[in-house]
Symmetry: C2
DNA sequence: TGACTTAGTGTCACTTTTACACTTATATTT
DNA sequence: AAATATAAGTGTAAAAGTGACACTAAGTCA
């Protein structure tokens, strides 16, 4: 079967910058390419967009197929259209940012996706195509958004502690934050619900567990509330 | 001549949300479609992306062809990929935001582009395709950016007064601002250079003219300075 | 020259941000 | 069981920033 058009058409792909956070450093999920071009090199998960699926659907489908990840936070990032970004032919790629919670990917790691691996930001290998540029754009976007939208919670388990949240912010923003001021501000929003549970994880005082209250955030947002850390 | 591929391919277009400000209300540049579909209806300027041009180039080319505008501020907005957004076939559109200074378009208005017209935001007609959605996305983006990046100057003439700048902010943000506080903050950045010139425009005290200092902004930005109004 | 119109200016109360040090709860070691 | 080590958790005061507010200045026109 073949498809014929009056003018030449480039191909359209999606690529995903997938962020994960395990409590230490921010990490990116990469896959090792099994086919040319750039066979054997590391790349962002992604692939061609079908003519009967939206861009978001294509991104979710590729993410599932290539990494096993499902039901993650996903948001369009930017569209990359340099003429020769793919050596084969003209390919325009719509890039996405995905944020995954540790809960999700530890289970997935065992299933398929043996050619997918998490890399700390400081140890990203050479990437195929213009994926390094896409990744950098994704990092910038994450940094920018983290301060003005409550998306950090997408990178933490459902139940998390304030020290975990703070470490996430420090890791992504690459800056040290004052513990007392951070807690004061975060709690002042009233968006965190303390649970009847604490996290014991070492020879020290256990930390209070919280969960984020998305409904309350929506309500506040409609009243003109601005999240900002 | 025809072009054949193994899998079906959608078409790729660019569309531009073009903002202008004449001192009163914020305006959008629309063109009246001369061909089906939506013939006779108003739409955002835009068109198909060639396989040998980048997305930015395509946006600039279409803007020039359809409205005569050249050398304007242009920035990618979002990519729209709903499956049936074009009734003919699958078309994905990369949307752009353009900001034009009154200097530019008053001269252009005379040349070609007789089917292009500026519409105040409050009087936008029904638009073709999903262009209303694209426009709304563009407005949101402009509002968001105006407060955190010095892009307002792209909508004003090279030489402008503080009352003009304030009216622009009030118009875009849809809010009244305190004159003294606005001036205090804007001038505190040291990004405006007062000129040896005043603007006389009525039976009242003339206003000091300023110009924006882009070089100084770059310098400050590198030192970690954050623009915010 | 008087009336009208918009440009331009300073202060004070209040809120927000920042800097900073000790106590508390647990696990481990002796 | 007591001592030790570790990270969690808490309040205050000084400084900076924000927001509210009313009059004078410089021009045009009648």
């Amino acid at each position: 079967m073949s498809f014929t058009y009056e003018y030449p058409r480039g191909a359209l792909t999606v690529d995903c910058v997938v962020f994960g956070f395990d409590g230490g450093e921010l990490k990116i999920l990469l896959i090792q390419r099994g086919v040319a071009p750039f066979k054997g090199e590391w790349a962002l998960p992604g692939g061609f967009v079908g003519t009967d699926e939206t861009l978001d659907e294509a991104a979710r489908r590729e993410l599932k197929e290539e990494t096993g990840l499902d039901n993650v936070f996903l948001e369009q990032l930017y569209t990359f259209g340099a003429v020769n970004r793919d050596p084969r032919e003209r390919v325009v790629s719509v890039a996405y940012v995905a944020l995954v919670q540790p809960d999700d990917y530890t289970t997935e790691a065992q299933t398929d996706a043996d050619d997918a691996r998490w890399f700390p930001l400081s140890e990203i290998p050479k990437l195929a195509f213009d994926h390094r540029e896409i990744l950098d754009t994704g990092i910038q976007r994450l940094r920018g958004k983290l301060r003005y939208e409550p998306i950090g919670f997408e990178l933490l388990p459902e139940k998390f502690t304030l020290p975990q949240l703070q470490k996430l912010y420090e890791s992504v923003l690459n800056a040290e934050l004052d513990k007392r001021n951070f807690r004061k501000k975060v709690l002042s929003f009233g968006l965190l619900i303390p649970l009847d549970e604490k996290l014991r994880e070492g020879p020290h005082r256990p930390a209070q567990l919280y969960r984020f209250d998305p409904a309350r955030y929506e309500a506040l947002k409609n009243e003109g509330f601005l999240f900002e850390i």
